[in-house]
């Protein structure tokens, strides 16, 4: 049985000490972030003309990133909620990462919407004059509700750890951190009554965030689905988006596990078993995701509606390599790597996860852009740059800035809260983990 002391000795050094490599990585992320700020200033000063978006293709990289990050968030919520509710034995070392994935992705995602809006001064109108009929209003309500729920759920799961850190006298941290733990622990002592209240609240919120994740990501899918645009107007877009989100989220969770395991030397806690279990989950979801993708494109292709045919033709010609990577390589390769036991090493599973996550991002790209490049009405002036979208350095800089802030937040959080839940692990059998 793992004792609290042993756990604290293993898991708190990352909170107590910060090495030069941490600072260097953070600095690199920060520099990328600064470039992003410069790009943003350029965009605000000169307008959206500095982006590749035009009258015809009005959504570009920003929306792709928005959908991608929101998907990661919902996947994190689904995974953490399901793992918590079903008391999955191996969940304990990875559940905190899934929770962080949920919240941090949810914080980053909406920023891409702000980058995409040409008139930011009109943003308050969404709240001041909402129309319930508008899917954009649904999205605003859904995301804000989800944000509150996910923060609440994360906080509930952190309280016990904050209390443990508050009471750990050997913890070598700055006084402000101690004060922070004291404040955030809410005076939690861990008596039976408190435990019961906290456990009930966590169970309720775990169930809630699963439901919210499905609804909210479906709402996001409906923003596309309720339009009559070729490629978007699909009844399966809601579940298709949800399954795709879980696919990418599982992939990113595996990548996070690999990074934290390596950087914070958590080999004893995050074992091959976790990678294999999540890898198998990734394979199952990949099968579902592949099935949805095939079903969606098959019905469109067979229907032979003029605009759908044009879109599919565009995907198989102009976007051939991206389409094949997103929908064939990105699905089949992770499945092949994980399905055969001989390939199942930690590294190969992580590589499969990287492929899956990248493919999913590309999938988002080929969902958003080619459709907008296939308008129903012929446009008057058919200049290539009005029809074909290609992202500018401004958009790439802001995308990389978003990713770097994402990384920075994961780094910062790991300096405040243990990346593996101490309270969850307390009752865990070390032999059981090492299996």
């Amino acid at each position: 049985m793992l004792t609290e002391k042993q756990l604290l000795q293993d898991l708190t050094p990352e909170i107590e000490r910060t090495g030069i490599r941490w600072y260097l990585t953070f600095l690199i992320f920060f520099l990328i972030f600064c470039v992003g700020i410069y790009a943003l200033v350029q965009q605000i000063m000169k307008g959206h003309i500095v982006t590749g978006m035009r009258d015809n293709v009005v959504w570009g990289l920003y929306i792709v990133n928005f959908i991608f990050f929101m998907g990661l968030s919902y996947a994190g919520a689904l995974l953490s909620g399901v793992l918590h509710l079903f008391h999955t034995g191996w969940r304990k070392p990875v559940i905190r990462m899934a929770e962080l994935l949920t919240v941090i992705s949810l914080v980053i995602g909406p920023f891409f919407i702000f980058f995409c809006i040409g008139r930011l001064d009109r943003l308050p109108f969404l709240i001041m004059y909402p129309r319930i009929q508008s899917p954009i209003t649904w999205d605003v309500i859904a995301i804000s509700t989800d944000l509150v729920g996910c923060f609440l759920y994360l906080y509930l799961s952190l309280i016990e750890d904050f209390a443990i850190l508050r009471d750990y006298s050997d913890l070598q941290v700055k006084p402000w951190k101690k004060k922070l733990y004291k404040f955030l622990a809410l005076g939690y002592t861990g008596n039976e009554k408190e435990k019961k209240i906290l456990s009930n609240a966590r169970n309720v919120m775990a169930a809630m965030i699963i439901a919210i994740a499905i609804i909210v990501y479906s709402v996001l899918a409906w923003i596309f689905g309720v339009t009559l645009q070729p490629g978007w107007h699909s009844t399966i877009f809601g579940p298709y988006f949800v399954i795709a989100a879980v696919f990418s989220g599982t992939g990113l969770l595996i990548i996070l596990m690999y990074i934290y395991r390596k950087v914070y030397h958590l080999e004893e806690y995050i074992t091959k078993r976790h990678f294999v279990n999540l890898g198998v989950l990734l394979t199952i979801i990949a099968a579902f995701y592949g099935y949805f993708t095939f079903s969606d494109y098959l019905t469109k292709w067979y229907g032979s509606i003029k605009m759908d045919s044009m879109l599919i033709d565009k995907l198989f010609h102009d976007y051939f390599s991206l389409f094949i990577f997103a929908n064939y390589i990105g699905i089949l390769l992770p499945c092949i790597i994980i399905a055969f036991p001989r390939f199942r090493s930690i590294r190969s599973i992580t590589i499969a996860a990287v492929i899956a996550v990248t493919a999913l991002w590309v999938n988002r790209y080929i969902i958003v852009i080619p459709t907008l490049e296939t308008p129903f009405l012929p446009i008057q002036d058919t200049r290539p740059d009005w029809i074909r979208y290609s992202p500018t350095w401004i958009e790439w800089a802001l995308t990389l800035a978003g990713i770097s802030v994402y990384g920075m937040l994961f780094m910062l959080v790991s300096k405040i809260a243990p990346i593996i839940s101490i309270s969850e692990m307390k009752q865990e059998d070390k032999i059981e983990i090492m299996k």
Binding site: L152, L186, E194, I197, L198, A201, M208, I212, R383
Partner: protein, 297 residues
């Protein structure tokens, strides 16, 4: 080898042509387009309109604040006025301001609009020949058949003669554009008739406007006659009170109910979680007090 050479040559040609192009664009004056048009409206008011534009990235952009000189006559020119173009690059001269215009041997009014250019924009001129035409429209209804009769006469050597063989287009203005309802081909007497369709909606009283036009006619320019009368079907555009749809101000009831139930369900659970946190805090305080009391005892 050919392939090896092809790429550098292609790049070189691209760069060189681009450089030459940018150099020439940097020094050349803008080549403007001057378009002179003649308009005659329902009240027999005639105008000359000049539009000054230039082409950039295959778009016609207006040149504002440019001085356009209007002339009457072609070979022997009489200056009419100098007018500055507005934001849309248009300069309008009201022909009723002048009295007699020069007439050429064929009985046409030659008009010219000239832009003499400046440091950045080149010069340009546009000339048109116009013959004054009088367009009339008579609307009659007999045995519930509504007929539009148009008649056109032009002046030839001081006499009015009928315009024959030309086409007058008939329109009804709708919300976004003019709906063509027929074309009247003028006979030898300069007249033509077209039956008005009986199924067109008008305003709530059935009022409808009918337009008869010569459009961009090489001899007459743009001439218009219009009349409004109760030939349309009365229409009511009022949205019934309490009507709810995706496009109305108030959302459908089912949507409001669904959203309210969902949101109250979710936020209710959030409230439960927040209350749980408050209870933990209260219990912790209570526990602290009890501990203190125990310590004092």
């Amino acid at each position: 080898m050919k392939r090896k050479l092809a790429l550098p040559l292609l790049l070189l040609s691209l760069f060189s042509s681009g450089a030459i192009d940018s150099y020439s664009q940097g020094n050349a004056k803008i080549n403007p387009s001057v378009q002179l048009q003649y308009f005659k409206d329902n009240e027999e008011n005639s105008i000359l309109k000049t539009t000054l534009t230039y082409s950039k990235n295959r778009m016609e952009l207006p040149l504002k604040g440019m001085k356009i000189i209007f002339y009457s006559g072609a070979e022997k020119k009489a200056r009419l006025s100098e007018i500055t173009t507005d934001d849309k690059g248009a300069a309008v001269y009201n022909l009723n301001q002048g009295s007699d215009f020069l007439i050429n041997n064929n009985g046409f009014w030659p008009f010219a609009a000239e832009f003499s250019g400046n440091d950045t924009v080149g010069s340009g001129i546009s000339v048109i020949l116009i013959k004054d035409v009088t367009l009339n429209m008579i609307l009659t209804e007999k045995d519930s058949i509504k007929t539009i009769m148009v008649n056109a006469k032009k002046k030839e050597k001081g006499k009015e003669v009928p315009v024959s063989g030309e086409t007058v287009t008939l329109y009804v203005p709708r919300m976004f554009s003019f709906l063509p309802i027929g074309e009247a081909k003028l006979d030898e007497s300069g007249s033509a008739s077209v039956e008005f369709p009986s199924s067109l909606p008008g305003d709530k009283e059935g009022n409808i406007t009918i337009l008869a036009r010569f459009e961009e006619h090489p001899e007459f320019g743009n001439v218009e006659k219009k009349s409004t009368l109760k030939w349309g079907l009365p229409s009511t555009y009022a949205v019934p009170a309490g009507h709810r749809a995706l496009w109305t101000k108030t959302a459908p009831k089912w949507m409001i109910y669904t959203l309210s139930i969902l949101l109250s369900g979710v936020w209710g659970h959030y409230l439960f979680a927040i209350i749980s946190l408050i209870r933990i805090r209260i219990l912790a305080k209570k526990h602290k007090v009890e501990k203190k009391e125990l310590f004092i005892k």
